[in-house]
């Protein structure tokens, strides 16, 4: 556990102690099994209580851990065959958003998602999951292609937010995202999205207006990253943990607020603890969701999509 978080340190330390004890036992031929058993029992308890009582901020930190499956990992697990497609046909191929055509159990699908790096080197190439306008335009092209060929679209969302740079502004980050929202609102094929890690702002929503929205247990999804919210609200980005508390950005919160349809459980401690299990679990959930959606006539699906988004939010009417 090279990259454990602060609140995971006691667990890591206990694990190290157990390993040390075992090594000592072996080396010196002394039987300390009773002691080891006791420590292992304590480790189990400590692990369970730690992950059962995560604060929203701890969840945000877990959702950002390197080692969690990325979109391409989910695609490999989800599709029996997959061909990645590139480019927005206007400007460039944005490596931060990946997509293509695949087969799941004989069902053709288009899959599109934010791609973070699996290490720092790849993260630089993937711009840390922050897409440029050409990424959103590639996504739009692939959505329209899916519509033409009548196949469902699965979206994987994992971004701290859309890229905020000069290049992005010059090439129309706003309109690129806006056009995706509009296209997804009326796309005449079933759509399903899964927030697998970070659901940051408009950059996430740009792949996220869908018939079903799922979220992994430790993922977060909010109008803005908590640090940025703190910077705006209290002029101090260090108050991110406080913002995470009040913004209601956990999977449970979003289910309660009626924004998402389902929480997909993660292994104890997060997807990064057992990526293969996680990928299989997501495949099951996607297949289940898509089977439901393809059974519904498209006009009915579009009506339901309209009403679902049309009624989001709360307000009162005074006389």
């Amino acid at each position: 556990m090279a990259n454990e978080l602060d609140f995971e340190r006691p667990i890591a330390e206990l694990k190290a102690k157990i390993a040390e004890l075992k090594a000592f036992m072996e080396k010196n031929g002394i039987d300390l099994q009773g002691e080891v058993d006791k420590l292992e029992e304590r480790l189990k308890e400590l692990t369970e209580t730690t992950y059962a009582n995560l604060t929203p901020w701890q969840r945000v930190q877990l959702a950002r851990q390197i080692g969690r499956p990325t979109t391409l990992d989910y695609i490999r697990g989800l599709c029996d065959e997959f061909v990645e497609l590139h480019g927005d046909r206007h400007f460039a191929d944005d490596l931060t958003i990946v997509g293509g055509v695949g087969l799941i159990d004989g069902q053709p699908v288009t899959v599109i998602g934010h791609q973070k790096g699996r290490d720092t080197k790849e993260n630089i190439r993937r711009n840390f999951g922050m897409a440029n306008p050409e990424g959103y335009r590639k996504a739009l092209r692939l959505m329209k292609q899916a519509e033409k060929f009548g196949r469902p679209v699965v979206f994987f969302i994992d971004t701290p937010g859309a890229y905020a740079g000069m290049s992005a502004e010059e090439r129309g980050q706003s309109v690129a995202i806006a056009e995706n929202l509009f296209a997804m609102a009326g796309l005449r094929v079933p759509t399903l999205s899964i927030v697998t890690g970070e659901g940051g702002s408009g950059g996430a929503l740009g792949l996220g207006i869908t018939d079903r929205i799922y979220m992994l247990d430790y993922a977060w999804y909010c109008v803005i990253a908590p640090e940025s919210a703190a910077a705006i609200l209290w002029k101090d980005a260090k108050l991110g943990p406080k913002a995470a508390e009040v913004m209601r950005l956990t999977a449970r919160d979003l289910l309660d607020l009626g924004v998402i349809d389902r929480i997909i459980e993660e292994p104890m401690g997060g997807a990064q603890k057992d990526p293969e299990w996680m990928v299989r679990r997501v495949r099951e959930a996607v297949i289940e969701g898509l089977r439901e959606l393809v059974a519904v006539p498209i006009d009915e699906l579009l009506r339901a999509r309209y009403h679902k988004y049309r009624q989001m939010g709360t307000y009162v009417e005074r006389p």
Partner: protein, 300 residues
């Protein structure tokens, strides 16, 4: 960050009339007093010229010396745009709740209501423009920085649906720092809500004109503001996704002076036209008439 955006243009030199010292807030004051720069003399933020209030009003709150556009409120905006006396407000009682139980949100709403005389950050209704019936809306920059919460999203979605049903053009003036932090994910979902409502207008082939006024950023710029059939902007209006300071931090270098202005956006192909406030009425009128004219019969 967002606050700076607005403050940048709010520093008026006020030559006292005495009024501003007694804001008996509850009492709604006439739009003219609330919405426009106060005081007998104003200093232009653009060129520093001293302008008489009367003169400023005559020039629709633009500087006759340098064309700087002063910030104006939603009600004044609509008054100077549509045919006199034709505006009928819709959904004026629709207002916010505090769905997340966010600290101090109610107090902020109350203060914004007192300052603007509106119950939420956008004013919508029906009106005539050059005699053509339209649906019109104007976001209120003085209401929590024009931010979009559920009630703002709902008022705009209803205006879009009204335009779709009646097949009338929608003219919407935007001014917003983006999504409203205090409503978290629900404010983000207003981008989705307005986008689905816009599909109705598209199906009904109803014209949507988006008019960008200073400033339009974040969630509003990344949704309906950028989806107009025609997008026009006032000179100098800031229009972009991320605020200037955020971009500067990302780039770690200074940006050109005209970054994200209406003119910058025109140059990069993001908007159709930069229109001076004094020509706005005429331009919008022409567009609306062109899209509602019956025209010649097609092959009948």
């Amino acid at each position: 960050m967002l606050k700076d955006l607005f403050n940048r243009r709010r520093q008026y030199v006020t030559v006292g009339t005495g009024e501003e010292t007694a804001p008996e807030a509850r009492q709604p004051r006439p739009a003219e007093e609330r919405d426009v720069p106060k005081g007998l003399v104003q200093k232009c933020e653009g060129c520093g010229a001293l302008l008489l209030a009367k003169e400023l009003q005559k020039h629709l709150y633009t500087c006759p010396e340098c064309n700087y556009h002063f910030r104006i409120g939603a009600r004044t905006r609509i008054e100077i745009t549509v045919d006199e006396g034709s505006f009928q407000e819709m959904d004026g009682g629709l207002t916010s709740t505090n769905p997340l139980g966010f600290p101090q949100y109610e107090e902020k709403l109350e203060a914004a209501m007192r300052a603007t005389g509106l119950l939420e950050g956008v004013l919508t209704g029906e009106a005539l423009l050059d005699g053509v019936p339209i649906v019109v809306g104007a976001m209120e920059p003085g209401f929590m920085m024009g931010s979009m919460g559920s009630a703002v999203g709902e008022r705009i979605a209803r205006a879009m649906e009204r335009a779709a049903e009646s097949k009338r053009p929608l003219v919407l003036f935007t001014a917003s720092g983006g999504a409203r932090m205090q409503e978290g994910i629900l404010s983000l979902m207003q981008m989705a809500k307005t986008s689905v409502a816009l599909t109705r207008m598209h199906e009904a082939r109803a014209l949507f004109i988006s008019v960008i006024t200073h400033p339009t950023t974040g969630g509003v710029s990344a949704s309906f503001a950028s989806l107009g059939d025609v997008i026009v902007a006032e000179p100098g209006a800031m229009f972009g996704f991320a605020g200037r300071r955020v971009v500067e931090q990302t780039m770690r270098q200074s940006l050109p002076d005209d970054f994200q202005t209406a003119e910058f956006n025109l140059k990069h192909g993001m908007i159709d036209k930069v229109v001076h406030r004094k020509q706005m009425r005429q331009t919008l009128g022409a567009l609306v008439r062109m899209h509602t004219a019956r025209g010649w019969a097609h092959g009948e």
